[in-house]
């Protein structure tokens, strides 16, 4: 259990980052890792709580105290086994997860003191790759059953890997040219280098997962064909309908959804396509204060934008955890400054966009007014303002999944428009759903968790089908290998 009392003597250390001025000049990852001895000191701070709130705070149920202890004891080989037990892709989560575990860490009751869980996780998996401990784990026995997974984001990949390792034959259909979904095309290279994604995809392929890229299911392959080919179908197509901003001037050229910009930039950085939306030399306004917005800001800096402004509808959050609203161990609604804004640009809260204006059908300015910061966001008189805007990126979140394929498969949807699949099984026979398509836009950890649980559900369904009886309920879905 770490080192008794270490948390009193050793302070929390944040992950090292390259200086902003340096990192905006390239597309390499800017977050580094602590030296091993320092990292183990950080792991030593974990007290292996009787009630590990971190483990509860982690959607994957990562066995955090267990591997913290193993890192402290320099048993990385075991730590990676323990970590992989709940998490197929720690190198993704270790880079991209906002770490609700750390918000829930018991030491975080004293804000700012949480164990550096995310760094420990990343250190474990990076070391494991370096040491060659991450190898394909093909199934010992095959079942001979075929399962289709549509979509190769983290949910689809996790589901595919779990199924393949359990002996099923998995075919992944992906409409883009490579696997990874948003991790590959949405998240910038400087947050996760795509070779890392590809390395993991190659592990799946080596385990026997078959990838079919550029296949848009529902278009290139009909739903009926898919069902005929496979005993079960898993939909992991994400939640990709972006929220729009219906204000005057929205149809001007130069106003884009953030994801379109990020995709174009990702392909440009990868060298697989050129051109596309660019911020180079432009006054850029990013609307939406979330992570996607931040990634747009980061890209804009690297492209050499003339200026970058990020605006947010909501008011300025409090600087520290508001215990009346989001007390520990909840995710605190507090002011955070994104990596991208540390690299430059301006941020404004409580801003309502009133309209865009431009010339020649091209946007030139954004017009906004301050609001009260909370719903219903009444405008504050006398605060109207205009800013030059040559590229406007809408990073306002997503409304729900694309519906064509769902409709073809006759999958019922819930009130929010997501695929209704209480235990991952949809209303359509043998059709499952996992990830954002089922739960709406969410974190990568949720996606992986959904993929894993869905795989369990698929297997149970297939087993029952083999016995010509269908389970109507599962007693438990084990994801951490803890139940007996």
């Amino acid at each position: 259990m770490g080192r008794i009392g270490a948390f009193l003597k050793v302070g929390r250390t944040e992950a090292p980052e390259r200086p902003p001025a340096e990192r905006v000049a390239d597309y390499h990852e800017f977050v580094g890792t602590l030296p091993l001895t320092e990292l183990r000191e950080q792991a030593a701070r974990c007290m292996e709580c009787g009630v590990p709130f971190c483990h509860h705070g982690c959607p994957l149920g990562n066995l955090i105290p267990d591997w913290n202890d193993l890192v402290y004891r320099d048993r990385f080989d075991e730590a990676i086994q323990q970590l992989h037990r709940t998490n197929n892709f720690p190198e993704f989560t270790g880079r991209l997860c906002p770490a609700p575990c750390e918000a829930a860490c018991v030491l975080e009751i004293n804000e700012g003191n949480a164990v550096s869980i995310k760094q420990v996780e990343l250190a474990i998996i990076d070391r494991a790759w370096d040491e060659g401990w991450v190898v394909p784990q093909p199934a010992a026995q095959k079942t001979g059953r075929s399962v289709a997974v549509v979509g190769s984001g983290p949910a689809g990949l996790a589901c595919a890997q779990q199924l393949q390792r359990a002996g099923e034959d998995v075919v992944v259909y992906e409409r883009d040219e490579a696997a990874g979904g948003l991790i590959r095309f949405g998240v910038p290279e400087f947050k996760i280098e795509k070779r890392l994604v590809e390395r993991r995809v190659q592990q799946l392929a080596a385990e026997g997962v078959e990838f079919r890229f550029g296949v848009n299911v529902g278009v290139d392959v009909t739903a009926a064909e898919l069902q005929a080919r496979h005993r079960a179908v898993v939909l992991a197509t994400g939640s990709r309908i972006p929220r729009d901003l219906p204000v005057p001037g929205r149809d001007l050229v130069g106003i884009h959804f953030a994801m379109d910009y990020l995709y174009d930039r990702a392909r440009a950085v990868a060298g697989t396509a050129s051109g596309g939306i660019s911020a180079a030399g432009k006054h850029v306004v990013v609307i939406g204060g979330g992570d996607t917005g931040a990634d747009c800001v980061g890209h804009a800096h690297r492209e050499g934008a003339a200026s970058v402004t990020q605006i947010e509808l909501l008011g300025t959050p409090p600087p520290s955890r508001p215990d009346d609203l989001t007390p520990w161990p909840l995710w605190p609604m507090k002011l955070r400054t994104s990596y991208a804004l540390k690299e430059g640009g301006e941020r404004q809260f409580a801003i309502s966009t009133t309209h865009f204006s431009g010339a020649n059908g091209t946007v030139e300015a954004i017009h906004w007014q301050e609001n009260t910061g909370t719903p219903p966001f009444e405008l504050v008189p006398g605060t109207a303002e205009s800013r030059p805007a040559e590229l406007v990126l809408l990073a306002l979140g997503f409304l729900g999944p694309e519906v064509e394929l769902l409709d073809q498969l006759q999958v019922e949807r819930d009130a929010r428009g997501n695929a209704a699949a209480a235990r991952y099984l949809t209303s359509a026979d043998g059709v499952f759903a996992a990830g954002d398509v089922r739960r709406g836009q969410s974190l990568i950890v949720w996606a992986i968790n959904e993929g894993r649980q869905c795989a369990e559900s698929v297997r149970a369904w297939l087993d029952a089908e083999g016995r010509s009886e269908r389970p109507n309920a599962f007693v438990s879905i084990a994801t951490t290998g803890t139940s007996e």
Binding site: G5, G50, V51, H56, G57, A104, I109, T480, E484
Partner: protein, 1499 residues
């Protein structure tokens, strides 16, 4: 009364006062009888009465058969004395049935060739019995039986015949016929009477012609009041004060021996003797049954007693070789009957008493110059002038006190024992015949078929926690791991994890009716030696009886097991029984497998095997192992039933056991030794993998030692000191096993809520097996979240969701968040984890009553209190927050076992409940005087039956100040209260506390276990006002993990049993009943009320309200939220506020109100005991069909309408007639205006706690400082009752001229006590006993001087008093933490055990060092400063007692004659902190609540 609901008469306990009077010259007189009756009357306070004051628990007398008297009262001819016997018969009052039984007896007498002489009605005066007693009074008649003419001159032969007649008639008659005595030598009168009634009820006893040279009397205290004339003492040969802890095993073993019994003396009658033990008897009755058999079969009384209650002889230099040989030989014949016991015995010529090996009962004797010998539980029961007294003594641990009327003298212990030991060459026999396992040639396993360890681990259900939490600490630290914050996981039967069979068994533990033992500090009495082999006829003695294999540690290494298996001799033959079954047979394969192993055992015995090794080594891909405990239980009970059990010893070879609990249960159900091969292999694996940084041999060695140590702790918590007595003793309660399973394989084990059977056990085994096969040897073990929560692991009531919701609810979330919290606690899946969760309310059909009609929450919260958590276990901030919160709402907080800062008495930080625990830390008259309630902690939920310790580094200046100890000095809490070894002792402590504070209510805290209801009934009869039934699962203190998980049962069962028993006894109306243990919501509170609780305690939930996050690191001092820590940095992080706690309790109370409204009940008091408003929730109980049956818990006691179900009346105060009222009157001038007073009073042994009430008056008026020195000087003359000078406040000086009983100067708080014999005493005071046992227990300050010898445990837990004594018994200065003790006479064994502070100066006779326990102390010469202390104390001793011994020492002063005994810790602390003022300011006390592992013990 018969078994009903959870009440079972099998759990009754009794204890009492015992005495005898004997004339050495053997002259029969009526005076002897009259004196015995007087002695009996003077022990009335040791007995008890039930709901009705006039109905006693029992009193009786045994006399020599009064030939002259009997001749004068019968109208038929009697043969000469010795040629006839008298059967005293308790017969039914119904004439037809009586006639039947009388005919049966007569018939039997004739069938056995003897002569029916006639019947006599025993006259009784019914006015002298209580109405309850009268209602059930038997018709008492005496049957006179003449010896047949062919009977020879051997008087024993006739006794044997009478015995056979009795056994035959008793067996045929059943329970209707009771024969209290049937002898030509002795006669018994007894009944359900109070002590004074005995002599008046039986008018015979007043007849001057009734004479005897000896008389044995007894006054009984039973834990309940159900009518039983039979259970009064004396029995035929003994009267007993104490309790046999190993009874279940002793009875089982006797039963197993019956088939082998053969006695030349009984000849063909041997077959008529079984069953030896009469069903339905108490422990005493059973003991009497066996003793009688042994004696009639030709052993002398001393011989038989030395077999049954052997002294602890191991490691002692003062035991002769012959005697050692005797004990070793007889260990091969029978296990000890273990437990606190003062047994007075007689056969009509020999009369005497013996005491258990640990000296846990009192006994004082005297011999007069004119040949009278008196022995009694107390001194002073007869008024005998000092000038007639020749000598005085006490019963000593393991010693015989023997009076032989034939020889006309007291036979010394050594002489009596040596004579017995010399009868046969026992030692030679033993040496020649026994074989030591250690001497067998080492062997390796013949067939090696090694499954990969990982697969075996999976097959046996190993988890990562087992490795990390259980095994690694065993090997690394050599002791069991420590945990904190109780157990909030489901009972095994409610778990979805399919727990191992071991976890269905809950360890029983001693509380109130017998004491747990300290296996570390009192290791001198403990033994883990085990014997294997076949046993022989108990009634004979031959060299072959010693043919046993002696095993020093019952946990065997692999090679040791092989030695056993391949043992090659003509005496030993081992046979291995494979208890695996083919996986292919599935669940159905288990039953045939059980039949097969039993049959195989039979066959092996037929072939002459005497070591049966039950093994699961064959487990593998195709074979699955049944639970090893099932295999052991099945074979053990099968062989017991077959009468062949003693032909072989059982040894277990299994991969399953891996913990102290698992090994303990296996041994408890009959295994003599266990080879946990997978546990050892796993430890080896951990070593190989570098997880344990030791070599394999060391790791294994330590782990074995640790399990041995844990075993000792487990047996000692039941008060058992030898493993051989524990073997088969079944001191467990099964929770969640079906009656069928238990009856068949664990016969006799209490199991009260039904549960799973073999089918589920087979499924569990197969499920685990399927994890391993087909399997991957590289697979990780599962993490099951048993000790710490894991998302997909075991359910924990406190989990991230419930903890966060509760904290949010009291920090702004309000009622709606509380409701979310309650919903999370009470939702279906969570409810399935507790017994109360399986119940539901029968809500009113009419929708109940409006919420407004229900009494307000502000009234309900007054019934709530917070748990006993000491300052020391909690930070000052957390402790005070709870106190303030409870005071503001009118509830109660509890000091816990750590005292209280006197500053807090003055404001709202004062805890209303002041706890008194075994360590007595911080307990003085001031503390007690400032209580509203005084709570005696008999046990705590997290580790009932165990003590604890607070290491020195956690005792800072503040904690030390509050506890009256020295900063930096470690503090040990003993497992027992050293003034409560028995129920009547508790009665005395309650009396003491009433004196210390007559206004406070007295509470007794018990932990739920089977039989707690009868203990509670006893506690009610002890005059307690309040009884707390704690659940097993609560508990905030740190404890060994096996205790947290495996001791005690849920409060639901214990509370229901308590309620049912109290109601059935008519005692419920006198006491408040409280319960605690993981209570969280209004629902919990209402269930508790309906099951019988007036009040509820909460500990974990309010702590969580103040910020506790269940780190479970309380024992590490690293609590990150500043609650369970003394680290100043961490204490600053504490953010809890009283408002948080208040809000929690009000939410709960509002929740309660809503449920009350739905039940249609407006007043909380009307909920109490309304068990009819509860029912099993069919949906939940049915959900898993695990056979749970809660009907016993929900049983409505069968009592008349209107019987109170809750407290409705106060106890009658026992202190109304105390001597102290006169003392207070006399002290008025001093109390009122500091005018010094002096006076003289007469005192008797019935005057108890002299000075207590007076001290209360002093503390109340003058606070802690008390009166100026010398303000009150009283002289008392006579024999003082127990607790003389208890709590004595500053300024009071009591000088007792005479002698005193136990507990002199208990809790001495600044006063001065002196005891000296009268000036005309004929004996040498320094050679005679003047005060009893446990003197100065928990004394905090003051001085005491004893002109004579004290008993056992002198100055135990003294933390500040100064004392001089002229000799003392065993365990002197035990657990002492402060003060100074000067001993100017001989000391007993084990001096200074657990002594962490204070200094003793002992006059060294050169043998002292051998008798001193030097674990914690150093022996040094006196320095100059020491000389000043010793000389000044001796000066005062001379001044107060006139001691010529001290005078001579001073006159011829030579400091070299003294040895200074000083604890290492204390010496260090003194060097750092300087000498504290110890004369008037207490300097020391000890821990509680906050404990650490033993390795932190000062080395």
């Amino acid at each position: 009364m018969r078994k009903q609901g959870l009440y079972d008469p099998a759990f009754e306990h009794d204890a009492c006062g015992v005495a005898f009077v004997a004339r050495l010259d053997g002259v029969r007189s009526h005076e002897t009888i009259a004196q015995a009756l007087v002695a009996l009357e003077h022990m009335e306070h040791r007995g008890a009465a039930g709901a009705e004051a006039e109905t006693g628990d029992g009193a009786g007398i045994l006399v020599q058969l009064p030939d002259t008297f009997l001749r004068s009262v019968v109208d038929f001819e009697l043969p000469e004395a010795g040629r006839y016997g008298v059967a005293v018969c308790f017969l039914p009052r119904s004439a037809p049935r009586r006639a039947e039984l009388e005919q049966l007896l007569e018939r039997t007498v004739r069938a056995e060739g003897q002569v029916v002489l006639g019947w006599r009605d025993v006259p009784v005066d019914r006015r002298h019995a209580g109405s309850q007693a009268s209602l059930f009074a038997p018709t008492i008649r005496q049957l006179f039986v003449g010896a047949s003419s062919e009977a020879g001159d051997d008087p024993l032969a006739f006794e044997r015949k009478l015995y056979v007649i009795r056994r035959v008639a008793e067996r045929e008659a059943g329970p209707d016929l009771v024969i209290p005595s049937f002898s030509a030598r002795t006669l018994v009168y007894k009944g359900m009477l109070t002590s004074p009634q005995l002599g008046r009820y039986f008018t015979d006893l007043a007849d001057e012609t009734m004479t005897s040279a000896l008389a044995l009397v007894h006054s009984r205290f039973s834990t309940n009041t159900f009518p039983s004339w039979e259970l009064a003492h004396p029995y035929r040969m003994i009267a007993h004060n104490g309790e046999i802890n190993t009874l279940r095993g002793n009875v089982n073993w006797i039963r197993a021996r019956e088939s082998q019994l053969a006695s030349e003396l009984f000849g063909s009658d041997s077959a008529k003797l079984a069953p030896i033990v009469r069903p339905g008897g108490s422990d005493t009755a059973v003991f009497d049954n066996v003793l009688e058999l042994l004696v009639l079969s030709g052993r002398s009384l001393p011989h038989a007693l030395m077999m049954m209650v052997p002294e602890a002889y191991g490691g002692r230099a003062d035991v002769s070789d012959a005697l050692r040989g005797f004990y070793r030989f007889h260990e091969c014949l029978t296990e000890a009957w273990d437990g606190p016991a003062a047994i007075a015995f007689t056969d009509g010529t020999l009369i005497g008493a013996t005491l258990d090996r640990n000296g846990l009962r009192p006994g004082r004797w005297l011999e007069t110059t004119d040949g009278l010998v008196v022995l009694a539980s107390e001194t002073g029961v007869l008024d005998i002038p000092a000038d007639r007294i020749l000598r005085k003594g006490r019963l000593q641990p393991g010693k015989l006190f023997l009076v032989d009327l034939a020889q006309g003298r007291i036979v010394p212990d050594v002489e009596a024992k040596e004579e017995v030991a010399a009868r046969k060459p026992y030692g030679e026999w033993f040496e020649r015949e026994h074989v030591r396992l250690a001497d067998l040639p080492p062997r390796t396993r013949a067939e090696h078929r090694d499954e990969p360890v990982r697969l075996l681990q999976l097959a046996f259900g190993y988890t990562q926690e087992d490795m990390k939490v259980m095994l690694a600490p065993l090997a690394v630290n050599g002791e069991e791991a420590i945990g904190s914050m109780g157990n909030d996981t489901p009972l095994a039967v409610l778990s979805n994890r399919r727990p191992l069979l071991y976890s269905y068994f809950k360890q029983l533990f001693a509380q109130v009716t017998n004491p747990p033992i300290d296996p570390i500090r009192e290791a001198v009495v403990m033994s883990v030696q085990s014997l294997v082999g076949s046993e022989h006829n108990l009634l004979a003695e031959t060299p072959a009886h010693a043919r046993q294999l002696v095993i020093d540690n019952p946990i065997l290494r692999d090679e040791e097991l092989e030695s056993l298996r391949q043992v090659d001799s003509d005496v030993f033959k081992a046979h291995t029984i494979d208890f695996t079954w083919p996986v292919a047979e599935g669940v159905d394969g288990l039953e045939p497998a059980l039949e097969r192993i039993c049959a195989e055992a039979d066959a092996a015995l037929e072939e002459g095997s005497n070591i049966l090794i039950v093994s699961d080594r064959n487990v593998g891909p195709d074979r699955v192992a049944m639970p090893s405990l099932l295999a052991v239980g099945a074979i053990h009970h099968h062989l017991v039933r077959a009468g062949t059990r003693l032909q072989a010893g059982l040894v277990v070879e299994s991969g399953e056991p891996r913990s102290v609990q698992s090994v303990a249960v296996l041994i408890g159900y009959g295994a003599a030794a266990v080879n946990p091969y997978l546990m050892l292999a796993t430890i080896g694996q951990l070593v190989d993998e570098g997880r344990i940084e030791l070599d394999r041999a060391t790791a294994e060695e330590r782990a074995l030692k640790a399990v041995g140590k844990g075993l000792l702790k487990t047996i000692s918590k039941m008060g058992i000191s030898t493993l051989s007595s524990y073997c088969g003793a079944q001191v467990f309660e099964a929770v969640g096993l079906s009656n069928e399973l238990v009856d068949r394989h664990f016969t006799g084990t209490p199991s009260r809520i039904g549960g799973i059977g073999t089918g589920e056990l087979a499924e569990g085994a197969l499920t685990r097996h399927a994890r391993a096969y087909p399997g991957n040897a590289g697979e990780l073990l599962p993490v099951v979240g048993l000790y710490a929560w894991r998302r997909d692991g075991e359910h924990h009531q406190w989990n991230p969701e419930t903890i966060a919701l509760l904290q949010h609810a009291v920090r702004g979330g309000g009622r709606s968040t509380y409701e979310q919290f309650a919903a999370a606690v009470n939702d279906d899946s969570a409810r399935r984890s507790t017994l109360r969760g399986l119940l539901r309310f029968r809500t009113a059909g009419d929708g109940g009553i409006p919420l407004d009609d229900v009494e307000p929450a502000s009234e309900i919260v007054k019934r709530f209190s917070t748990g006993a958590m000491s300052l020391g276990s909690l930070s000052r901030e957390a402790h005070e927050t709870l106190a303030v919160a409870m005071n503001r709402i009118g509830g109660r907080s509890n000091t816990g076992e750590g005292g209280e800062d006197p500053e807090r008495y003055l404001d709202e930080r004062r805890s209303k409940i002041k706890q008194v625990a075994s360590g007595r830390f911080g307990v003085n008259i001031d503390y007690l005087t400032n209580a509203d309630e005084i709570q005696i902690k008999m046990a705590q939920g997290a580790k009932p039956g165990e003590g604890g310790q607070l290491p020195g580094h956690k005792v800072d200046a503040y904690i030390a100040g509050v506890r009256f100890t020295t900063p930096g000095v470690g503090l040990i809490s003993p497992p027992p209260h050293h003034d409560i070894y028995s129920i009547e002792d508790l009665k005395q402590l309650i009396y003491d506390l009433r004196c210390a504070n007559p206004g406070a209510r007295i509470s007794v805290k018990l932990v739920s276990e089977v039989g707690v209801g009868t203990v509670a009934a006893g506690v009610a009869k002890c005059n307690a006002d309040h009884i707390l039934i704690s659940g097993h699962d609560g508990g905030t203190g740190a404890s060994p993990i096996s205790s947290i998980l495996h001791a005690g049962v849920p409060w639901e069962i214990g509370l229901a049993e308590t309620q049912q028993t109290l109601v059935l006894n008519g005692l419920r109306s006198r006491v408040w009943v409280q319960t605690d243990g993981q209570l969280k919501t209004g629902r919990d509170v209402v269930v508790a009320a309906l099951l019988g609780a007036d009040e509820m305690g909460f500990a974990t939930a309010p702590l969580i309200a103040t910020g506790c996050v269940m780190m479970r690191a309380c024992h590490l001092n690293t609590c990150p939220v500043g609650i369970a820590t003394q680290d100043p940095e961490l204490r600053r992080r504490f953010t809890g506020q009283p408002e948080h706690v208040i809000e929690f309790f009000f939410h709960v109370a509002e929740d309660v109100r809503e449920i009350m409204a739905s039940l249609g009940i407006a007043r909380f008091e009307d909920l109490v005991g309304r068990v009819d408003l509860l029912e099993a929730d069919g949906a939940l109980v049915h959900w898993q069909t695990r056979g749970i049956d809660l009907s016993n818990v929900l049983r409505i006691p069968d009592v008349p309408e209107g019987t109170p179900l809750r407290r409705t009346e106060a106890q009658v105060s026992p202190i109304l007639h105390a001597l102290d009222w006169r003392l207070i009157e006399a002290a008025a001038p001093a109390l009122d205006d500091d005018t010094p007073v002096e006076a003289t009073f007469a005192v008797r042994n019935v005057d108890r706690t002299v000075g207590g009430l007076l001290s209360h008056q002093v503390a109340k008026r003058r606070g802690r400082a008390g009166l100026p020195p010398g303000s009150v000087r009283f002289e008392l003359r006579g024999s003082a009752g127990q607790s003389f000078g208890a709590w004595l406040a500053p300024g009071i000086e009591l000088t007792l001229v005479g002698d005193a009983n136990d507990y002199v100067g208990k809790g001495l708080s600044g006063g001065v006590v002196a005891v000296r014999p009268p000036g005309d005493a004929a004996y040498r005071a320094e050679e005679n006993v003047i005060v009893g046992n446990t003197v100065l227990y928990g004394a905090t300050s003051g001085r005491a001087f004893f002109r004579g010898v004290a008993g056992e445990r002198f100055a135990v837990r003294n933390s500040g008093a100064l004392a001089v004594v002229e000799g003392l018994g065993d365990h002197g200065c035990e657990y002492m933490t402060g003060g100074r003790v000067v001993v100017i006479g001989p000391t007993g064994r084990n001096f200074a055990a657990g002594m962490s502070g204070g200094i003793a100066y002992v006059l060294d006779d050169d043998r002292f060092a051998a008798r001193c326990n030097t674990q914690l102390v150093a022996l040094e010469p006196l320095e100059e400063a020491d000389e000043i202390v010793v000389r000044s104390l001796l000066d005062e001793h001379v001044a107060r007692t006139g001691s010529p011994v001290a005078d001579a020492l001073l006159a011829d002063w030579d400091p070299a004659r003294f040895t200074k005994v000083i604890p290492h810790d204390y010496k260090r602390a003194l060097a750092v902190h300087g000498e504290a003022r110890y004369s008037d300011q207490p300097i020391s006390t000890g821990g509680g609540g906050f404990f650490t592992k033993e390795s932190e013990e000062a080395a």
